[in-house]
Amino acid sequence: MKKTLKERLAILSDAAKYDASCASSGTERRDSGRSGGLGSTEGSGICHAYAPDGRCISLLKILLTNFCIYDCAYCINRSSSNVERVRFSVEEVVWLTLEFYRRNYIEGLFLSSGIIRSSDHTMEELVRVARILRTDHGFRGYIHLKTIPDASPALIEEAGLYADRLSINIELPTDAGIDNFAPQKHPTRIRAAMGDLRLKIDAAAEPSFRGRRKRFVPGGQSTQMIVGVDGANDATILASSARLYGNYRLRRVYYSAFSPIPDASRALPLIKPPLLREHRLYQADWLYRFYGFAVEEITRTRPDGNLDLEIDPKLAWALANRERFPIDINRAEREMLLRVPGLGPRSVNAILSARAHKALRLEDLGRLGVSLRKVRPFIAALGWTPLRLVDRSDLRDLFAPKPEQLSLF
């Protein structure tokens, strides 16, 4: 008997939840004020709910179908799994998106799919959902489509006209890992697809002779790496991300700690997902993208190439480079202020603005919302020098969490 819409929604959201991205930010600004239709995107994304896993729910994130001819060991939808298989019709996805949107549950749709029949057939179905939403319903909310690596260029081209963001998952940080755990996927073809997409995005950004730019994937492309499946260390993972950001100009690389799935494969032991490691990778990724750190600076603080789990990567870098401190907050340049543990871009801006009018003391920093406990050992301010605090051998203990008994589960 055919399952109800609700039953299929349950299965196909279960099937989609291992994709970490739910972002609805970074696209163009648009609204329905003039068209009189439905939907808007206004710069920063909106998280309409949070699940008890702490993750933002911004989009209706579902699969069109969880039938899949691929057999990726880490995936809940792999062909060798006995999960129940169902599918939505294109019209059902359109209906769910619009009805959810009207009730302000979501910012839009993140649609992916198992590979059925062929790459082109699957991609065609995804594109059809986006086309109906945009052209038949005038929908101006956010659309993120998963791109099927081997789909034909014409389909990707069309997807880019409707979607705010396209993504292709690189899945694992090394080619060997992909060969081992996702034997039907081909790292070279995944990269080729990303490269093609980058060229298309670049070309659309060039103004035509009329000075108009073509609207094409305004939110750019993103990808996801699963952490903890193959043996890659953090240095390998982050180097791989840096290449993705550099060569393919990805907007985001998501890290997803491998987490137990129903009916798991024998090839992968079910362990507690390495959430702290995932968190440190995001912090390092942030340092690379917004704080001017090179990946090697972050990863060379430990011989095994993994990030310190006890302290955050910026603090780890500072402790390994004590001779660069203290930093004078009344004189140092922005780049160096950004390297002080406890200062983010926002507080650095506040410092730069405030110090133009008077020399700052520690109390002034406190009023700017900076945590003095964190920054004090690393800075000099009017009336404050940390003496040789950075030479203290117990400095790490000031920040590292107290040892805890390991939990058995």
Binding site: L5, K6, L9, A10, S13, K17, Y18, D31, S32, G33, S35, G36, G37, L38, G39, E42, C47, H48, A49, Y50, A51, P52, D53, G54, R55, C56, L60, I69, S79, S80, S81, N82, E99, F100, R102, R103, N104, Y105, I115, S119, P183, Q184, S259, P260, I261, P262, D263, R266, K272, L275, S353, A354, A356, H357, K358, L360, D364, L365, R367, L368
Partner: protein, 289 residues
């Protein structure tokens, strides 16, 4: 001492009119007491409290100007529910006449306080855009436009401030957002704001059931992080979120679900998997389709 009585529904205009008059009359901040009609201090004296008449301008006082950044700041701060916001803004306005760069002095106590109020208002407005839940009114059949109603309980006076967002987004439907701090509405022609407190309506929408299904299934029980959820979705918002009453059971059942996944032995692959892999082999091209 002058007493200025304001409605305080989050609109800058009434404060601005009074502040401009006071400034042009050369009245320093310490000679003004700002009160909110029906507010915490106003209640005590009930109807008998009356504001002072606004003073006439002092011809010696030069025309007042303020940086654009101050108006933006003031538009947010005026929405805060802190009764001291009127006085704080007037103090800033007064000081700005002499200290033009005041707002850049981010460690100044008044600036710090104003920035704090602004941040709190921004956050509340952002959460309102996130957590308003529209329910469809079923009596609208046969009408050309669909009709929706939401009940929300904001912390600050932000209903007017956020109305434009909902209009730009939900342009093709009629909607009403009712709150204890006023009601905004849109009918395709007019965007309205009524400051009178509304009462909570009793509403049902069948779509909530589908949303709850989605919420429960997009949750990954192996990644329980209750603190992270609660810092972004504080409990004060839960009572008006149709999905929130699922949370306790999802949390309580998470560990058992993970144990069960771990304990279950890997099953034998379904028949279609064997057919697929046999086809791969026959084609001699592992994985290509």
């Amino acid at each position: 001492m002058l007493t200025i009585l304001l409605d305080g529904h989050g609109e800058l205009a009434e404060w601005r009119a009074a502040a401009r008059a006071l400034l042009l009359a050369g009245i320093p901040p310490e000679r003004v007491e700002w009160r909110q009609r029906g507010g915490a201090t106003g209640d005590l004296f009930g109807g008998q409290m009356e504001g002072s008449p606004l003073p006439p301008p002092d011809p010696q006082t030069p025309a007042a100007t303020v940086p654009r950044a101050f108006l933006e700041l003031a538009e947010a701060v005026i929405c805060h529910n802190d009764p001291r916001r009127f006085a704080l803004l007037y103090r800033l306005l007064w000081r700005l006449q002499g200290e033009r760069a005041l707002l850049e002095m981010r460690a100044d106590a008044d600036v710090v306080q104003a920035n704090r109020l602004e941040k709190s208002v921004r956050r509340d407005a952002h959460k309102m855009k996130a957590f308003v839940r529209f329910k469809e009114l079923s009596d609208g059949e046969g009408q050309p436009r669909r009709r929706f109603l939401a009940w929300f309980e904001p912390e600050h006076f932000i209903v007017g401030r956020t109305a434009g967002f909902f209009q730009r987004r939900f342009t093709d439907m009629d909607w009403i957002i009712a709150t204890p701090k006023g009601t905004s509405s849109w009918d395709g022609q007019h965007l309205r704001f009524d400051p009178a407190p509304a009462t909570k309506p009793d509403l049902r929408d069948a779509a909530d059931d589908l949303w709850r299904t989605y919420y429960a299934h997009i949750f990954n029980p192996a990644r329980l992080k209750v603190q992270a959820m609660q810092s972004e979705m504080p409990k004060k918002y839960w009572k008006n979120l149709p999905e929130a009453d699922l949370i306790p059971d999802l949390i309580a059942g998470a560990e058992a679900r993970v144990r069960e996944m771990a304990a279950r032995a890997a099953s034998d692959p379904p028949a279609f998997h064997h057919r697929l892999r046999a086809r791969d082999k026959a084609a001699g091209r592992e994985g290509e389709t």
